[in-house]
Every structure is written in C-alpha cells, then in structure tokens.
Symmetry: C2
Subunit: 195 residues, 2 copies
DNA sequence: TTTACTATTGACACCATTGTTAATAAGAGG
DNA sequence: CCTCTTATTAACAATGGTGTCAATAGTAAA
C-alpha cells in the first residue's frame, strides 16, 4: 500500500496560503467563491485542514476581511503620506480604489452587519492618519485642521465611490471613456483650489 | 378533513409582495437573508409559489436588484432635477445615499460580476440626466458642459463613498460626530466654488 | 531512538437551500 | 353551470456547503 506524502506546514504558512487563495477567489468569484471547499482546493489542502486552522468557514472569512482591511488602510496611508504633489497623490488614491480587490472588500464590509470586526487594527492607524491631517493643514493658511480633514475625506469618499460604481455612474452621466480616465487628474487639480 | 383557504393573487401582486419582503431582508440580514425559504415565510407564501413566479432563487435576486436599481436612479434624478439651491441638493443626495438600503444595493452590485443586469433601465434614464447636466452647465460661464459633468460626478461619487464607508473612514480620520454630520453641508458649500 | 505534539487526511454525518412534481383550488370566460 | 387556466400547496428529491472524528504522519524535543 503506497501512501501519498504529506506536506507539513507551520500554522502561519498554512494560514497565509489559505488567505491568499481566498483573496483571489473573492476577486474572481465574489462572496459565493468564499466557501471552504473551493478555497481549500485552490490552496492545495483539504478542507478539513482549513477548518483546523480557522475553526469555521466564518472564521476564515473574518480572517480574510481583517487582513485585506489592514492592507487597504496601509496602502491608503502610504499614499497620503507620500511627499508627492497633491495631483499625483489623488491620482494614486483613485488608482488604488479602482482595483477590483479593494472594491469588493469595501462592498463586502458594507454588506456585513458587524463592521467593527477590524476596528482594532484601524484604530491603531489613527495616529498615522492624524499625522497626515496635520501635514495637509500646514499648507492651509491659519492651519485649519478641520478644513484639512474635510478635504481628505472628500478625496477618500470620492475615490471609494469611484471604485464602487464609477463606470456605471459615469456612463449614465454620458461621459466618454477619456473623460472617465481624466477624472482622477481633474480632482487632483480642483481640490487644492478649495484651500 | 378541513382544508386551509387559499389566497389567490394575481402575478404582479404576488411578485410585488415577494420583492418587498426580499428588500426588507436585504436591509436587515444582508445577502444571506435573500434565500427563498425566508423570503417566502416573510411574505406569507410557500417557497414553491415563489419559485413559480421567479423561476429560481437567482431569478428572484435579479428581479430585486433591478427593482432597487430603478428606484435609486429615480430618486437620484428627482433630487438632482429639483429647483432647490445647490446646498440643499447636495445634502439631500447624501441623505439618500446614507440609507442602509441604498448602501447594501450598491455593495451588492459591486460584488456581482454581471453588473449589466439593469443597464437597460438605466440607459433609459440618460436623457433625464443629460437634461440635468445642461441645467448645471448654464450656471457656468462659457457653459462648460464637461466641467458640469465632472462636478456632478464628484458629488455623486462622494455621496456613494459616504454611504459605503462614511462612518468608518471618518472615525479613522478622527472626525467627531458633529463634524461627520456637517460634512454634506460642507460639500454643498464648497463644490459651487469650483465653478 | 523515543516521545509528544499537532498538522494533515479521508470518510462520514448533518443541515440548509434549492428545485421538482402531482394534486388542488380559485377565478375568469364560455 | 361547465371548462380552462394557473396560482397555490405539500411532499419529496437532490445538491452542496459545513462540520466531526478517528487515524496517520511529519517534526521537534527529550
């Protein structure tokens, strides 16, 4: 009797493998793709092993949600915190949000009731964000911190909206493809005018 | 043998009953609440009857998606098309998008691959939107239609982003509750300055 | 080498959801 | 009153996703 060789991974490695496959499935197949059978198949392990590492299917989903949220906050922070000119910063922000993975992550979070799943990690990032707010405020006469916050949130919310339903809304508005492409740059030019 | 009396509805009435219950379930329980068993129970009919009217569970979901999308486009149009001052219009727009139903609708659409389910109805509303774009353009010197389009899209996308993850993003930015409430009004004041 | 720990696996059971079918009954039209 | 259509229902079957369990096999430590 020949038995198949087993690959024994350490727990972190196994979890990382599984979450990577889960993230890809979320992008390609939406929420319905996030079942333990398919995710396990994609990552080359058996579904029993997956349950061993995450406890339940819901546990796996929560772990993925937390991981992706952390990554998004991190990406946003590093873009906002860069020394690039505002025009570049805004374009980068829109480019980040137009990735399907980010869109589906935000949509998924909006559909979940208990959206405080990842609040701990995000609260940890407030300090960094606050630093960014201060830096933007310094460019404003009178160092208007509230104005800086509003401007940053306007850029962020618009980028999110762009990611969620940009193409649909824009074609509804009758915008051509090139007009759609130029919108991020336009925002980058216009928002500084409000200072 | 006593048989229960049967209520016989006409098809439109039955479909309306079912979709109303489905919409409420989407708001309260998310996508997982959109199964034929629960929806049928809530609307007081048997799940077999539901399948008779919509063909399949997916058919019911597509019908709900189409109905809600139509309603959203209609609400957006009537707000944009009102004669109210820009400040009021923006606040109304944000109020519309902050309703949980609209949030979940957009999130749902973003998660679905085939987002052209409702394209026909939306395309039919382009004429109305185009009329609104023209009206806004008339307030701009030189009747800059492209600028009008960009402004409207900035407002819309920001409102969508506000609906999808407004509270989360804003508390991450360190905004107080009152600052969060005032944001729509702030947008209403600022955007006209870009003209 | 021996032992202890645990990641891994296959097989199984369970449950929720979906879909099918034949029978029934309500209502419209003749 | 009779007939035809079809909305309605209960009961059943099928499927797929979830979770359990005992056995197995790497791996590190004693």
């Amino acid at each position: 009797m020949i038995t198949k060789p087993r690959i024994r991974r350490n727990p972190e490695e196994a979890r990382a493998l599984i979450l990577a496959a889960a993230g890809k499935r979320l992008e390609e197949h939406g929420l319905r793709g996030l079942n333990i059978k398919d995710v396990a198949d994609d990552s080359g392990i058996k579904h029993g092993t997956l349950l061993h590492h995450f406890g339940s299917a819901e546990g796996m989903r929560r772990a993925l949600l937390a991981k992706l949220s952390e990554e998004l906050i991190s990406d946003m922070s590093s873009i906002l915190n860069s020394d690039a000119a505002p025009e570049i910063v805004f374009v980068e922000l829109f480019r980040l949000m137009s990735q399907t993975g980010q869109t589906k992550l935000l949509a998924w979070r909006a559909l979940e009731e208990d959206s405080d799943i990842v609040s701990k990690e995000e609260i940890a990032s407030i300090d960094l964000i606050e630093h960014i707010v201060q830096r933007v405020a310094e460019r404003i006469k009178g160092k208007d911190v509230d104005l800086a916050r509003n401007l940053i949130f306007l850029a962020l919310s618009s980028a999110v909206g762009w990611g969620i339903c940009g193409p649909t809304l824009m074609s509804t508005l009758g915008m051509t493809a090139s007009q759609q492409d130029q919108f991020p740059a336009w925002v980058g030019e216009q928002l500084p005018k409000l200072i």
